[in-house]
């Protein structure tokens, strides 16, 4: 089936199998591998994207459900001119170990700060509770969120 959607401000089309997830379409059909494929059951948050402005796991959205909708992936956060402030903060604080969970954390953090520019530690913890870092690098991730919130 044909799926048409806006991805990072651009109209895109893809042929997808009916049971396919939005994540598969992004990675395998639209050449956007920034959203990572790990648990495929909404447990890890590494495929976090913004669907119509709401933070969701792309693995739990049926590709057909995104038809006609607007999507922002990690690739769409920064600009040609430079990184998104959240990406800058993750780089600055070294909030990356293996890096696999980073795109999901970056998207979830950008979503948090857009809604709540000065989150408390508890609010950060809550907002990032759906994202797992298997390297357990949470301390530096917190540093990154605090830095991005202050910038």
């Amino acid at each position: 089936m044909r799926v048409e959607l806006t991805v990072n401000g651009e109209r895109r089309e893809a042929d997808a199998w009916a049971g396919e997830s939005l994540l598969y379409v992004l990675r395998e059909r639209l050449g956007l591998p920034g959203s990572k494929n790990a648990c495929e059951q909404g447990e890890c948050g590494s495929c976090s994207v913004l669907l119509d402005g709401r933070l969701v796991c792309a693995c739990l959205v049926l590709a057909a459900q995104a038809d006609g909708h607007e999507l922002v992936t990690v690739e769409g956060l920064g600009e040609e001119a430079g990184l998104h402030p959240v990406q800058e903060a993750f780089a600055e604080t070294g909030a990356v170990q293996c890096g696999f969970c980073t795109p999901g954390f970056v998207v979830a953090t950008a979503d948090l700060l857009a809604r709540n520019p000065r989150p408390s530690d508890d609010e950060i913890r809550e907002a990032l509770s759906g994202n797992l870092c298997r390297c357990t690098g949470y301390a530096k991730i917190f540093d990154a969120v605090r830095l991005a919130a202050g910038s």
Partner: protein, 263 residues
């Protein structure tokens, strides 16, 4: 495999009548896991995301009507959270933000898991489930709608429209036992309200029997209530906890919830 995406409720009901084997998908937090792990290959998926009729909530003759497409995130927001505090508390324990932005009350009713977090809060609000097909609409009390683990009274040609719930008339709370605060399927859960208007305490538990279940008592008859709630459960041993632990936890949670609500 096909996906049908109706844009009106009438169209959706016609499609469901023509294809009773179609599996409804709303937030996808249950259905997509089945698809991703190759556990289910339904011939047809019925995408309910475009149905405005299923969204939001409204006041109706003193009760609250929740659309089947109401998300957990929406159930956490004022003013709804003030009218149904136990549902708001339960919603806060569901998954993480990504899951709460997609998962819905209607999906919880459709999946009918014994661990469905929205079910105990709806039971203490005497929830009635609204169902529709091209044959017409009907309502089923939630305790009759839930017929077994992952089984409900929905007919093949029907869709869940929403639920009508009694707004809180007194303190309410929700408690859940799990290995961490977020991203947890409950080991055992409990919703409780002290309803002074009806002179009644109502408790409903999840993950402690084949279906979520309601137990009530007069306010003057609270001695031994935690033990009675635990005795009404029929928990099993599974990967998340033992039956004995669940029974014990249920009586502890009930005592704590009563104390919290009577303060």
């Amino acid at each position: 495999m096909d996906v049908l995406t109706p844009t009106t409720l009438d169209e959706a009901l016609r499609m469901k009548a023509e294809r009773p084997d179609a599996v409804p998908i709303q937030g996808g937090t249950d259905v997509m896991v089945e698809l991703n792990f190759d556990r289910a290959r339904p011939a047809v998926l019925l995408n309910l995301n475009e149905l405005a009729e299923l969204r939001g909530w409204s006041r109706e003759n003193g009760s609250i009507r929740l659309g089947a497409g109401l998300t957990y995130t929406e159930a956490m927001e004022a003013p709804l959270a003030e009218k149904l505090p136990a549902l708001a508390e339960a919603s806060r324990t569901v998954g993480g933000p990504q899951i709460r932005n997609r998962g819905t009350v209607g999906g919880n009713l459709g999946t009918a898991s014994p661990a469905g977090d929205a079910l105990p809060p709806l039971l203490i609000g005497d929830a009635v489930v609204e169902l529709a097909s091209i044959r017409g609409e009907r309502t089923v009390p939630l305790n009759e709608f839930l017929t077994g683990p992952k089984r409900n009274a929905l007919a093949d040609d029907e869709l869940i429209l929403g639920a009508r719930v009694r707004a809180a008339h007194g303190a309410q709370t929700f408690m859940k036992v799990g290995p961490r605060n977020a991203m947890v399927i409950s080991v055992v859960s409990l919703a409780l309200t002290v309803d002074r208007e009806r002179d009644e305490v109502r408790a409903a538990f999840g993950s402690a029997g084949p279906v979520a279940r309601l137990v009530s008592a007069r306010l003057a008859d609270l001695d031994g209530f935690p033990e009675r709630v635990a005795a009404a459960a029929s928990p099993i041993d599974d990967v998340r906890g033992s039956a004995a632990y669940r029974s014990h936890a249920l009586s502890v949670l009930t005592a704590r919830a009563v104390e919290r609500c009577l303060q």
